[in-house]
């Protein structure tokens, strides 16, 4: 399930090129900006900007294989 897990301890992580390593897995649910999106610098105004704000905190990139996801990456209703 975990085809790729990259643990990134990034110090002063966020530059103009973003905090995702070049070989980072494509987040299957990354609806904003795509896999190469930069982290967001202040001012942060939306939820998605806040949760993806630049940070020096420990990051873990995941690429789970989830066959039950909808085509648009959303989750289906519960059975």
């Amino acid at each position: 399930m975990r085809s790729l897990i990259i643990v990134a301890m990034l110090t002063g992580a966020c530059g103009s090129t973003g905090n995702a390593p070049k070989d980072a897995a494509v987040p299957t649910d990354a609806a904003v900006g795509g896999p190469d999106a930069s982290c967001f610098m202040p001012p942060l105004t939306t939820n998605d900007e806040i949760i993806n704000a630049c940070t020096t905190a420990q990051k873990i990139y995941l690429n789970p294989s989830l066959p039950l996801l909808n085509a648009d990456g959303t989750v289906p209703p519960l059975p």
């Binding site: 649910d29 904003v32 806040i50 993806n52 905190a57 789970p64 989830l66 066959p67 989750v75 519960l78």
Partner: protein, 419 residues
């Protein structure tokens, strides 16, 4: 015989080095031994706060005795909103419980420590609470507003985590994985060729019962509108989840829901998964690293599974019915206690709040309006970030005093706070 030592030792993460026998069980209404009582019904994630704050308050001037029982948050709200009593036989009043917990005073046990656990006393009969607590937004349990005789205050924030036995190889999980795991369950997933390794055993999912903040917070954050669909074994308490994880027959498949302050006392025995919420690029721990205790990601919005604690006391118009209960509510919530007519404490209540894994409002930089709701930036009236970090980790802020002013910011509690 301290019957609660073992469980309390689990709760506080230490071995039960009994410092001496706890006081013999007696009536809670003994105001000589238990002066100025404040009867509390709170969520079980608040037990460590009760132990630590309870000890400080026993030595306070005036001394105050916290006498508490834990119950699911929604039960506590129901009890509060509907005039219930502790031990009245209804589920909202803690069932038929007649035993309450309290912390012995220095005179009763000079060497008591939180790892010794709580002493117990007996209720004479159903008792009206003075102070109640939910560990999530009350609106997650009821659409009713608080009645006019209830003063509800948003208190410190707490994270909820997905925990597993220490040593497991898994280090992170996505919201989508957690949604499928707990919403469908391993059996259905396997039948649909969508098993989530290593979480393939239905019997290794340890959750909480309906009405608990831990379950409802996770359900809300995962987008599960019907929390009753949560798959797993509903455990009766946070400590039962801890025990289930530690004794799981398939440890590598074991995963359970806990409050972060419960986990924080058990880091030598459990570990938590970093969590990536919907639309997020990476997974994060509640803290800035797996081993830190700074709750940085909760405070700045990178870790999204958190709730406020709400604290409620009873009023007659603007006047609190029990000034000691209001005093405790104010202490926990970081408010001015002197409006109760009582002196400010000689101890730092917010340091206790921080040390047990809760985050004071003054250290928060994000907010939300309802359980699992979107985050927005937040600026508290006065920052305590430097002081908070000095308690839980290491502060990098400049220190200050009357003769050493801050180059920038505001000197508060010995640190140059941002504002």
């Amino acid at each position: 015989m301290r019957t609660l030592v073992f469980l309390a030792a689990i709760a506080t993460g230490g071995v039960a080095y009994a410092s001496g026998p706890l006081p013999a069980e007696g009536p809670c209404a003994n105001t000589t031994n238990l002066p100025n009582p404040v009867y509390i019904q709170c969520g079980d994630t608040q037990a460590n706060l009760m132990l630590n704050l309870g000890r400080a308050l026993r030595a306070n001037n005036p001394p105050i005795t916290l006498i508490w029982v834990t119950a699911p948050s929604c039960n506590n709200i129901d009890l509060t909103y509907n005039g219930g009593k502790i031990g009245d036989g209804n589920a909202s009043g803690g069932g038929t419980t007649a035993k309450m917990s309290y912390v012995p005073s220095v005179a009763q046990d000079a060497t008591w420590q939180p790892s010794d656990g709580a002493a117990t006393c007996d209720l004479a009969g159903p008792t009206t609470p003075d102070l109640t607590n939910s560990a999530l937004y009350n609106t997650a349990c009821t659409t009713m507003p608080p009645p006019s005789n209830v003063n509800a205050v948003i208190g410190p924030k707490q994270a909820y985590v997905l925990a597993e036995p220490r040593g497991n190889a898994q280090i992170a999980i996505t919201a989508e994985e957690a949604y499928f795991l707990f919403g469908y369950g391993p059996m259905i997933l396997a039948s649909m060729n969508a098993a989530l390794e290593p979480w393939t055993d239905m019997g290794s999912l340890f959750i909480r019962k309906i009405g608990t903040s831990t379950l409802l917070a996770w359900a809300a954050n995962l987008g599960m509108s019907d929390a009753s669909k949560f798959k797993g074994t509903p455990e009766a308490s946070s400590l039962a989840v801890v025990g289930a994880l530690e004794n799981a027959s398939m440890p590598t498949a074991a995963i359970g829901l806990l409050g972060a302050e419960v986990y924080d006392t058990l880091r030598d025995r459990l570990q938590v998964l970093a969590y990536r919420t919907y639309h997020q690029y990476a997974a994060y721990y509640p803290d800035s690293t797996a081993t830190s205790r700074d709750k940085k990601n909760l405070r700045d919005g990178h870790y999204t599974v958190w709730s406020p604690t709400e604290w409620m006391d009873f009023v007659n118009g603007p006047t609190p019915l029990n000034p000691y209960a209001r005093y405790v509510l104010d202490l926990i919530s970081g408010l001015d206690v002197t409006d109760t007519g009582l002196a400010a404490p000689a101890f730092d209540a917010q340091a206790i709040v921080a040390a047990v894994g809760l985050v004071p409002d003054c250290a928060m930089r994000v907010k939300r309006d309802f359980e699992g709701g979107p985050l927005a930036m937040y600026t508290p009236p006065e920052s305590c970030t430097c002081k908070y970090e000095s308690v839980v980790d290491v502060s990098t802020c400049a220190t200050c005093n009357a003769s050493t002013p801050c180059a920038s910011g505001v000197c508060r509690n010995g640190y140059c706070e941002e504002f």
